[in-house]
Symmetry: C2
Subunit: 595 residues, 2 copies
């Protein structure tokens, strides 16, 4: 009877894991535990699966997220019962909002040991609430033909549900009774009647994309072709091919594209002549805010990073604003959109572009030319101001990276200040660099682990983040050691929460209270921790040192941490001075042009 149970356990978990692989999962991040033994051992024995261990489930969750984000493929997570799974929560939340496919597998006590004070047993059913796309409680292991089919169906369905738009996390909970050790020598572990040919009698899942009907596209094309003052805006998104379609659209409409640093549009294989990258700076100028009023805006991707752009968009109540979303979501915090278009963005852009080109609209004014000129002037001003600063100005990190990072590299940025500085100073001029950040929930947690996961796919990878964010996920560095990952981590150490100095809280009379509640200086010297995790550490004091360290790290193997010590108060005043200078330099030109 025990032997029977082990046959059930092995066959059932074997069928599930095998189908996971058949469905496209090749990577699984496992955290050690006892209850998860059946799946862990079977996974370790599947030839199609790469397993990577991570002891801290919180970091493991983000590690899987980064891997899934960069590879654009679903990644599986496996942990034991109890609070282990609760540690996945931050990464699960981020995956849901950032639309990243994760297959979260938790192991659990069987029903008779739940809610009775048994050790390491918590309520895992639906424990991620609205933050997963799908939850299912799995049946107890059984190797009958129909239950093997069930196990395979659940694996296929989970993987596909995670992957189809909007992609996101799914959660399967596996109850396991003891004994927990499967027979991994069993011949039948990965069979169960599964496919000898491509079209067998087993379930396949096929998905189509949302595409608008031709007559709707005709209408949009003729309507948009008439509009002179249009803007295309692309926020964070990871499709490397969308750029080409949006450039076609821009060319046909003769509208510029405001491209977020995470849109993959500033730099890419497409031509970027229509791309505007310095809007965050020029939209802070009161004259431009007032005069550069669009008639139509078409947004793609998630909401851009720039707060100036968000406020700009929110002020128009008589401008048509289209939001194109492939997945039926609602990424529109400005309350100013007039059209929500649920369509594959590539298809929409290409089809509209084709139709508008056929119309070949004439443009009277200089709307695009002026905006592109404005952008060029602003960009030049921002870059010039940045590189003029001899001291360690935080924004200059991105100006320097923009010049140095090679084709095909990945720039991952932390939230709060780094991603904003990337927006301001990482221009469209330079090599083809992939841009990424956790912009689902914009957390300062899990950033290092996400970047490490992405670095498994993309090389070289450079991560830029602040010291609070670096502290938050110090545990994540274990992955760099265990899996010998190549990464450059640039820690901007301004001794606490730099972004708060930009907020009204900083004007409080009581600076002691401000430092306690918001500044939160930690006073940590990170060098020893880096060493503990097998990395190298360099604290730079000049841009020359920065360049040397950066180049050495990108050429080398392993983890390299470069710390840039900066000052929070100086940083705010420098940012403000740069905007002020750039705005002033624009004024003579602005006095001459009409938008």
């Amino acid at each position: 009877m025990l032997q029977d149970y082990i046959v059930d356990l092995t066959g059932y978990t074997g069928a599930f894991v095998d189908e996971l692989v058949m469905s496209g999962v090749t990577e699984v991040i496992i955290s050690p535990g006892s209850r998860s033994t059946p799946l862990a051992m079977v996974m370790a024995n599947h030839p199609g699966l790469n397993i990577k261990m991570h002891v801290d489930e919180r970091s493991a969750g983000f590690f899987a997220l980064g891997l899934a984000k960069a590879s654009r493929k679903p990644v599986a997570l496996l942990c034991t019962s109890g609070t282990a799974a609760a540690n996945y929560y931050p990464a699960v939340v981020e995956a849901k909002l950032a639309r990243v496919p994760l297959v979260v597998l938790t192991s659990d006590r069987p029903h008779e040991l739940r809610d009775v004070g048994a050790p390491q047993a918590i309520d895992q059913l639906g424990m991620f609430g609205s933050h997963v796309k799908w939850f299912a409680e799995m049946a107890l292991p059984e190797a009958s033909a129909s239950m093997l089919r069930y196990a395979r169906t659940m694996a296929a369905r989970a993987t596909k549900t995670a992957s189809i738009g909007p992609a996101g996390p799914v959660h399967l909970n596996f109850p396991f009774r003891e004994p927990l050790v499967p027979d991994v020598t069993s011949q039948g572990m990965f069979t169960g009647g599964r496919r000898s040919s491509k079209r067998d009698f087993y379930i396949h899942i096929t998905t189509g994309d949302r595409k608008l009907d031709s007559f709707i596209l005709d209408e949009w094309a003729s309507e948009l072709a008439e509009v002179e003052r249009g803007l295309i805006i692309c926020g964070p998104q990871e499709d490397p091919l969308l750029g080409k379609a949006l450039v076609h659209l821009a060319e046909s409409l003769r509208w510029p594209i405001l491209a977020d640093p995470l849109s993959q549009l500033r730099r890419g294989e497409h031509k970027n002549g229509w791309v505007i990258d310095s809007y965050d700076a020029f939209l802070r100028h009161p004259v431009i805010k007032e005069r550069a009023v669009p008639e139509v805006v078409i947004r793609f991707g998630a909401m851009p990073v720039s707060k100036a752009l968000l406020l700009f968009l929110g002020q128009f109540r008589d401008c048509r604003q289209l939001v194109v979303d492939p997945d039926g979501g609602w990424r529109e915090p400005t309350l100013s959109a007039t059209e929500m278009i649920y369509s594959d963005p590539d298809h929409f852009a290409k089809e509209v572009a084709k139709r508008v080109s056929a119309i070949d609209p004439k443009r009277q004014g200089n709307w695009s030319e002026n905006l592109l000129e404005l952008d060029a002037r602003t960009r030049a001003g921002m870059v010039a101001s940045s590189v003029q600063i001899e001291g360690l100005f935080e924004g200059r990190v991105f100006t320097e990276l923009g010049k140095t990072m090679p084709d095909g590299s990945l720039l991952f940025t932390g939230n709060s200040m780094p991603v904003r500085d990337m927006d301001s100073f990482f221009t469209k001029e330079g090599a083809m660099v992939w841009g990424m950040a956790n912009r689902g929930a914009n957390g300062i947690d899990g950033v290092t682990s996400t970047a490490l996961g992405a670095a498994l796919v993309q090389s070289p990878t450079v991560l830029v983040l602040g010291d609070l964010s670096f502290y938050h996920d110090l545990n994540g560095l274990l992955a760099a050691k265990l899996h010998t990952i190549n990464i450059t981590i640039i820690v901007i150490n301004n001794g606490g929460g730099g972004i708060f100095s930009f907020l009204p809280q900083a004007k409080e009379a009581d600076q002691v209270a401000f430092e306690t509640l918001f500044g939160t200086p930690l006073g940590l010297d990170y060098e020893p921790v880096i060493t503990m995790y097998g990395g190298s550490f360099t604290r730079i004091s000049s841009w020359e040192e920065f360049h040397n360290a950066l180049q050495k790290s990108m050429d080398g193997k392993g983890m390299h941490v470069i710390e840039i010590p900066t000052d929070r108060t100086d940083n705010v005043s420098t940012h403000r001075a740069i905007w002020e200078n750039v705005h002033q330099s624009l004024d003579p030109w602005l006095a001459e042009v009409s938008f």
Copy 2:
């Protein structure tokens, strides 16, 4: 109008925070953020509240848990919007199962900025699911008389709901619009018509304990008085006075008490002559398991740590087993209980003891005497075996601590092996030491932070945990630095997951796979991290060094980490050899007695 809003914001949050203090909250752990500014600033200005910052919300959650556990008072947590709150999840789960009162306050975007892709906005409504006792979404700030009353009522209700049995976490979510800075110079911040006298017209919450009717107690007393072969069992619980009541009960019934190391019964102000502490070892003996069969068992507290005891209890189907729970819970994984008694345990024990004493039952056999003798022999054997081992045997840590720790100190243990070794080797002989662990969900996460929170209350505090658990919550050490906490941390470094070597997984032929999936050696030298957080580090190589380091750390200030390097494989064989030896030494005596 802006000024009106700030009056609303200040008055509303002021009333809430003031009532929180009125309801008994004196400690709040805050993680920095922008959205939480109104509550954070008001809290920092309340004279009755101690605020402590912690940047990592996961550690902050456990830090608050430890503080609440040791002080037996509700503690508040405050964080910003987004994934910050998701990081509380593991501590929230532990608090629910361990019945620890936490008031979790999360700040959120207002309704119009939810689920629309606004930055740092996630679905926070009910985000802890079944793992909190109560969730409420707060109204937007408003300082009308009735809304100030509402704010105060919610604070009082949340605190009381967290505190009444079963204690646990509650969650309030606060939507805040910008501007977020309250006017902390406002005179009226903490008034709002609140109590000049004890009995004003504001809400007070009064709770009674569950007490059985006298006739039911009479019945139990007369029934139990007739039983010779009875056992009292006390699992983990934190009431320091329960020991006295249970000793009365034991004396009256003449039954021994099997006392978990976390029951506060092995050592306390009560007499511990009836207390048995070595059952985990003797219940592994096949003869005892078979012959020491009780007729009645009365359980108090949570389920004990000992797996031997759990299996022992589970084997009886014709033994009455009473589970006394003050809070209407269900802590009974053995499926062998016959009576669930929802009553204040102190009241139940005292009242039954009084009635049984009046009956003054006569006992024929030597049930208690034999068990106490068996216990004394086992204890002596375990202690002797442990101290005979010259090498760094993990169990001996607790034998040594048992002799050294002073009255009123706190011994906090990690899960997996340390708490089991405490069970085996921390006997009832020695000073009055408080015992604590996270036995709600038995996670290896958050242990350091919980102990640090407890160390704010209890001094000296000694934490013993394994290296994986220590790694998992390294971030928690920040609290020791920021709040200069005195603690001794003993890290048993067996290079990975020691408990797995005791499980069937370890018998797997493929030792490489075992080490990868279960052993997970991290190869980390923790010394530099300890130094980074301002602690001292000593790696000991003998028991003499251990004693010196221990004494020095308990006498000194600050954080002291003592690492004991051990070997996982040796550890298993030593444990098994000790049980074997002790069992053999019992055999001659067992041959002579009859239970």
